[in-house]
């Protein structure tokens, strides 16, 4: 029972972690992309459709990443080249994404999909309890951890990461030193889009291998909240994602166990938890003053 719960928590947390790590990089560069939900759901439907048609989950994954990148490129062109309001543009990306996904997915409703295979490591995976948990996951679970570590290394140990943080901290200074603010931000937005698409693919290829209208159910928004929760630090993101994964799963199990609480109350727990976490983190602002990108959400026009 506990083993099953932990397994489901891992699958519930991974899409959050994938989407959030991408948004973290985007925000570190000073861009607030509220379109995560839209990119995620388009990723979910593209991953499902391509996976189903080719029979290859890998092809589905790449399609999802591509779809996320494509949508985020649209966002990048608007916010960076045409200097549109980032909040409004992110919202429109979400609305467009939800619409597109619904349209594409219309024909797939109710069709059983394919599932990302679990990696079996002979011997280790058969160990009791720890075997399935540590050595019996699908590749994306491991990848999500590698990605977090990689992003952390990139941001804090490489020159590229230093430049990216500099752009997010003070775009005017970065520009004065000769860095291309727009190029750095463009790439950061695309990375965020790819990760969101990947997170979506995880939903439709591993979490519940099927297409359901609106299946992201606010996970993109929760990923955005997770970035704040993590104070823009990749390490803390893992904790946050697994916390939210746990809340999601525990309410399912509580429902299944037939608790005398209305199912709707339990279903609302992840959303309420998000609000509570935001309040707790935000009221303690001095703690993460250095990590909050100072230029977050502020447009840059190399014209002043």
């Amino acid at each position: 029972m506990i083993e099953a719960v932990i397994l489901t928590i891992i699958t519930a947390s991974t899409p959050l972690l994938l989407a959030a790590i991408g948004e973290l990089v985007t925000e570190r560069a000073g861009v607030l992309n509220l379109g995560v939900e839209g990119m995620m759901i388009v990723g979910a439907v593209s991953g499902f459709a391509v996976g189903l048609q080719t029979g290859s989950p890998l092809a589905g994954i790449f399609a999802a990443i591509g779809a996320g990148v494509a949508l985020s490129a649209l966002f990048a062109v608007l916010t960076l080249v045409l200097v549109t309001n980032q909040v409004a543009t992110g919202l429109s990306l979400t609305l467009l994404g939800l619409g597109l996904a619904g349209m594409i997915g219309e024909g797939f409703v109710g069709t059983p999909g394919i599932r990302l295979p679990r990696l079996e490591i002979p011997g280790l995976s058969d160990l009791p309890f720890v075997g399935p948990i540590l050595f019996g996951q699908d590749a994306l679970v491991y990848f999500s951890f590698v990605l977090c570590a990689g992003v952390s290394w990139f941001l804090f140990k490489t020159r590229g990461g230093l430049v990216l943080r500099a752009v997010g901290d003070n775009h005017a200074s970065a520009h004065a030193l000769g860095f291309s603010v727009l190029k750095v931000r463009f790439l950061a937005i695309l990375f965020g889009g790819g990760c969101a698409g990947l997170g979506g693919a995880y939903l439709s290829l591993a979490y519940t291998p099927q297409w359901v209208e609106g299946m992201t159910a606010g996970r993109g928004w929760i990923a955005l909240a997770l970035v704040v929760f993590a104070s823009w630090l990749p390490g803390r993101l893992i904790g946050g994602a697994y916390l939210f994964g746990a809340v999601t799963i525990l309410q399912f199990h509580a429902q299944a166990a037939g608790l005398a609480i209305p199912s709707q109350v339990l279903s609302s727990l992840p959303y309420l938890a998000t609000i509570i976490v935001l309040v707790l983190i935000s009221s303690n602002r001095t703690a993460n003053r250095i990590n909050t990108p100072a230029c977050l959400g502020r447009p840059f026009v190399p014209d002043r």
Binding site: L96, G102, H175, G218, S282
Partner: protein
């Protein structure tokens, strides 16, 4: 070659008017391409989508019915977005307004008086305002991001509605359908004429006009505009940023709540698990397409209502999914935002590699 923006010395008046028109034209163009990709004849599809709904009196009336909540919510959101506060949870406030207003016809269904409907409206507005007050308060008190909290409350409101209509508020004589009892005549919004058009539409128009007047002609409107355009200047003028967050959320929440109760006490006539095709989100597009002007929101609300009716028509006569509507709406917002750039900037295509145009400090 690259695209450069050159700041206009002053906002372009022409572009102010032209930009939504241009955005709409670009949406139509992209729509044509989309229809062609879906294997439709673009001209016919566009006709069905955007023109046909205007040719029959029943569908025109239906447009006005659909436009009512869009205008009412959109006008309130204009106020928020001008003040630079981001209420994106209008869908939840709409739902909460519907729930709060319905308390009377569901719980006190015997009470039928001329005051029933006004009392429902009042409760609806109050419900929406209180629901919107939560993110406003969390923002002011704790600095919690209002975008995320107001959105999370949409899901919570929808779950609350779901619980009520499946649980305590389910119609005892309703054969276990997840619906409340039907509202009595006294608790129903009066119909204008003999079609589906109801009192909500004139209320929506009036809302738009009042808010436009408030913004352009009153000190409160000045306060909203100053705080949105330059928060520090607002503080210098003696205006309160926190007060504005609360005010704009309460007003827009109240309007969304009012729209919610009018919707269930009008076209629907009872509470159901789903009472909105995403009015609260579409109203965001309405606000931007209307250039954040509440009177503009009236026009924009009508345009987006057409897209709903057109979507239904396309589903019936072309066999297209009604999800196309959402795609259209999303594209429209994208193009509106892109075209608004033209108001503040001139776009230049530069061919040499010199990058910036920088003004001397």
């Amino acid at each position: 070659m690259r695209i450069e923006l050159e700041k206009r010395p002053r906002q372009s008046g022409t572009m102010r008017i032209l930009s939504p028109v241009l955005a709409f034209a670009l949406t139509i163009l992209s729509g044509a391409i989309l229809f062609a990709l879906l294997g439709q004849d673009p001209v016919r599809a566009l006709y069905v989508f955007f023109i046909e709904p205007l040719t029959a009196s029943w569908s025109v009336e239906e447009i006005l019915v659909k436009a009512s909540p869009l205008i009412m919510i959109g006008a309130g959101l204009c106020l928020c977005y001008i003040a630079n506060t981001w209420n994106i949870g209008a869908e939840g406030q709409f739902t909460m307004g519907a729930i709060a207003g319905s308390a009377i016809p569901v719980l006190f269904w015997q009470w039928e008086s001329v005051w029933t409907l006004p009392a429902m409206f009042l409760l609806g507005a109050l419900g929406g305002a209180l629901w919107a007050g939560i993110p406003a308060l969390l923002k002011v008190r704790f600095g919690a991001n209002e975008i995320l909290t107001s959105l999370m409350l949409v899901y919570v409101a929808q779950l609350a509605l779901d619980w009520l209509v499946r649980g305590p508020w389910r119609d005892p004589d309703g054969f276990n359908f997840p619906e409340s009892r039907l509202f009595s005549a006294a608790a129903t919004v009066p119909v204008l004429g003999d079609g589906r058009l109801h009192l909500g539409f004139p209320i929506a128009i009036l809302t738009g006009i009042i808010l436009a007047f408030l913004l352009a002609r009153t000190l409160k409107g000045f306060e909203i505009r100053v705080l949105g355009a330059a928060p520090r200047a607002g503080r210098f003028a003696g205006f309160s940023q926190s007060g504005m967050i609360v005010f704009s959320f309460l007003v827009s929440g109240a309007l969304a709540g009012l729209a919610g109760i009018i919707e269930v006490a009008g076209p629907i006539g009872q509470l159901r698990p789903t009472i909105s095709p995403g009015y609260g989100f579409t109203a965001i597009i309405v606000a931007f397409l209307g250039r954040l002007n509440p009177v503009g929101a009236i026009v924009a609300g009508l345009v987006l209502a057409i897209s709903y009716i057109g979507g239904e028509a396309a589903q019936v006569s072309l066999g297209l999914t009604d999800k196309v509507t959402r795609v259209f709406q999303g594209m429209l917002l994208f193009f509106v935002l892109a075209c608004d750039t033209l108001i503040l900037y001139r776009i230049r295509i530069a061919f040499d590699r010199s990058v910036q145009s920088e003004a001397d400090r």
